[in-house]
């Protein structure tokens, strides 16, 4: 069976933190034009 970060508790939240950092960069760019 295929495995994803979501398959463990730590992986789920670590993936969330990584996604947050990426989106933070995107939103900073949007806010500052």
């Amino acid at each position: 069976m295929y495995k994803l970060p979501h398959d463990s508790m730590a992986g789920t939240f670590l993936a969330g933190v990584v996604l947050t950092l990426l989106l933070w960069a995107v939103v900073s760019h949007l806010v500052n034009g």
């Binding site: 398959d7 939240f13 933190v17 996604l19 947050t20 900073s28 806010v31 034009g33």
Partner: protein, 167 residues
């Protein structure tokens, strides 16, 4: 007075419904830290007993809490006149807008992906065991996707009010 009360009440309801919704997802993580395939002994074939009624009520509360969270979030943005700029991710409203879009994806995830499969896993809709086991993997990943999305969701929700210097 009423002008101040409405946003406060909306925010209170928004937070309370979000606690019910996201809290349910976090409890699920505590109960099942990692995926374990469904076992035949684990599934209930009961269709209208007391346990099924309680599970149905629990799931209905959780699902509808997602709708209440989304609607109150929408109303707060509309009431403050920021709805269009937030939805278009314009300027300073891009912060709350990103939170709102993530919340929208999570709500759609609950209703369009998780719920149709969860009905089979829990036996609300009759399905053979193999199908229930297949759906259990999908509901697990859907729930975990929402847990993952809750991290940026809370980041943008909180920072739109208290951390604007971050952007």
């Amino acid at each position: 007075m009423l002008g101040d009360l409405i946003p406060v009440l909306l925010r209170m309801i928004h937070i309370m419904a979000a606690i019910i919704w996201i809290g349910h997802i976090y409890v699920n993580i505590v109960m099942r830290p990692r995926f374990e395939p469904l076992c035949p002994e684990e599934v209930s074939n009961e269709t209208d007993g007391g346990f099924t009624k309680r599970i149905k009520r629990e799931h209905a509360t959780f699902r509808h809490a997602s709708i209440v969270t989304w609607v109150t979030g929408f109303l707060m943005l509309w009431h403050s006149g920021r709805l269009v700029d937030a939805a278009m991710l314009n300027g300073a409203d891009a912060v709350i807008g990103m939170g709102g879009w993530i919340g929208t994806i999570m709500t759609l995830n609950v209703w369009l992906v998780l719920w149709p499969h969860q009905k089979k896993v829990l036996g609300f809709v009759p399905a053979p065991f193999a199908e229930r086991a297949r759906c259990a993997r999908i509901t697990f990943l859907t729930s975990r996707t929402n847990a993952m999305l809750s991290v940026p969701l809370f980041f943008f929700m909180v920072s739109s009010s208290f951390g604007f210097g971050l952007f």
